[in-house]
């Protein structure tokens, strides 16, 4: 992990954006024609985000609801097409690939989901849930499928004799293992974890996190770990990227970020995570609510809640700039 700098990125994202447009209905269109100032609702879920993940790295994407982290993850995993920008896998632009190449890259990037219930098809047996894709993509044959599945299931801490069961017969933690096994069954090397432990009980969460750590070592995996939980993130990641309302506000190696958070939002987040050793803490919350992504503030998105906001923050969007080696932050205050 020390020679990360020399590694080429497995995944690189260049000014990726996603807009969701809610088109006007018929009545709305007529009203617009008649001169009403009614307009289509546009949400910039992800707004010009660039980042890279090196081989073997765990990069965490942290933010609160509506910050676009899940949308970003879905674009990376190929579930949603980006509105603009590029996603490069090992230097190849994913959008430019077709046919067999596209499929190969699609399988190399897999996703693990938040909800251990909704993410498994309730009508399929375990062997079909995990075994469908490898069979369809000819990673195994029908004759060898059983052995193939046994391997994957054992790796994820599942008893292979459960292959004939349905998802509802498993507990939350085991379902999450099923989801992991399903992703691993197509031999990916990049995994997007979207809040993969958020829905689990504390003791089960620890088991799954340990599994992630073990799989990373065994299979040489690279993770994009999406979470709102800084405690979990601090434990598992090498580098952290903080997002707020669709934009990256800060990115830094984990120790650096926790030791010297630069952006006021990061500082507030770190101050406000409840900790075991912070007893009878005096909570000192930042003011205000997260603004609606439908109508984000001008300039720096964080300025209405920022105690240090100036006129410049209200007008001009701050750019991500290096504040220390490997440490980027998007805040006007850094320029004095």
């Amino acid at each position: 992990m020390s020679n990360q700098e020399q590694n080429s990125p497995v995944l690189e994202i260049r000014s990726l954006s996603k807009k969701f447009v809610k088109p006007l209905d018929f009545a709305g269109k007529i009203a617009q024609k008649l001169g009403s100032n009614i307009r289509e609702e546009v949400v910039h879920a992800v707004d010009g985000v660039s980042l890279h993940v090196n081989k073997g790295e765990v990069v965490s994407l942290v933010g609160e609801s509506g910050c676009g982290k899940s949308t970003l993850g879905r674009m990376v995993a190929g579930i949603m097409p980006p509105t603009s920008g590029e996603i490069l896998y090992k230097g190849q632009n994913i959008a430019s690939l077709t046919g067999e190449d596209a499929r190969e890259v699609a399988l190399k990037v897999q996703m693990i989901f938040q909800d251990p219930f909704a993410s498994l098809n309730p009508r399929l047996r375990v062997r079909d849930i995990i075994g469908e894709a490898p069979l369809v993509h000819k990673l195994t044959t029908a004759a060898e499928q059983d052995d193939y599945l046994d391997d994957v299931m054992l790796r994820c801490g599942l008893d292979p004799s459960y292959k004939r069961r349905y998802p509802h017969q498993f507990s939350g933690g085991q379902r999450q293992r099923l989801g992991i096994a399903r992703a691993l069954a197509v031999q990916p090397d990049f995994i997007v974890c979207d809040e993969a432990v958020a829905a689990l009980d504390v003791s089960i969460q620890a088991q799954i996190l340990n599994l992630f750590i073990k799989l990373r070592e065994d299979l040489d995996l690279t993770y994009l770990f999406i979470s709102h939980d800084l405690g979990v993130v601090e434990h598992i990641s090498d580098r952290i990227v903080i997002m707020y309302l669709g934009r990256v506000v800060e990115s830094a190696p984990t120790e650096e970020l926790f030791a010297k958070p630069n952006h006021p939002y990061t500082q507030a987040l770190l101050r406000e995570i409840p900790r075991l050793d912070a007893r009878h803490a005096d909570f000192t919350p930042i003011e205000g609510e997260i603004p609606s992504p439908l109508d984000p503030p001008q300039g720096c998105h964080f300025h209405p809640r920022c105690p240090f906001a100036t006129d410049r923050c209200r007008q001009e969007v701050p750019q991500l700039k290096s504040v220390a080696p490997g440490h980027m932050s998007a805040c006007h205050l850094n320029e004095g």
Partner: protein
Amino acid sequence: MTQTVPTLQVENLQTQFFTKAGAVTAVNDVSFTVNRGEVLGLVGESGSGKSVTGFSILGLVDQPGRVTGGKILFKGEDLTQYTEKQYKQLRGSRISMVFQDPMMTLNPVLRIDTQMVEAIRAHENVSKAEALQRARDALGQVGIPSPEERLKSYPHQFSGGMRQRVAFAIALLNKPDLIIADEPTTALDVTIQAQILYETQKLCRETGTSLVWITHDLTVVAGLADTVCVMYAGKVVESGKVDDVLDNPKHPYTEGLIGSVPSRNKRGQPLTQIPGMTPSLFNLPKGCSFRERCQYASDACQQAPSISKCEDGRLVRCHRVEEALSHV
């Protein structure tokens, strides 16, 4: 601590559900005490019985469940003897509640002011103007900006965090002696959670309201609570002062839970984990329910352990502690 009657004293509470598949004891021999102005953290994982304990205190356990044993002493009065009518008078006035989903207390088709005024006048004979004034104050108290305008809004016009604050404001309206909050910040963002924790803490200090905070999150309890009860499979396995329990857990389950909190562990290293999973209440192991997941389990654990009291006043349900104490 002066010798006054505690706000809430739960003694050997037992709540059972009578289902088609047989009777299930969701809350089993649970006891704890909450004094005036104190915050109790009731901690457990899903299925531990923490929420049912809350519902039992409020008399809100629905069929096919009911409280089948023990006492719930609220300022010395036993709530298990209360009729539904008496409970109705009590809830919302002297005891109030906040749920994970604020829409459980808010009516989606009524304006906030209507709901709040109704909540006050249901328990007290005050004029509408006075009730409105109190509603306004309560909204201000929980940190809602421009309460005057917000009173005229409908619940759907609030964000999730604001809605939860309104739920808190409604809970506070009649200056209750006790608030029972069931995972009220679990669904909220970190910054919003911090705001609500801050307001709650301030209110308890200022008004002397006692609080039972039901949660799965030990870190929230660490910051907020004075005392903590750890529940496992329907029973309290350890209870005591927050500092004692979190710094020096005596029950192996508590120890495991604390070990599972990621920020306590070295980065990238495996977390200390509790093996296995929470047993189904239909199919609890004989003896100590935690036996099968416990690294210290011995033959003695085939028998259900009883509660032992440690020198710091802590209560632990474990044979190891029992043994250690008997050797002293």
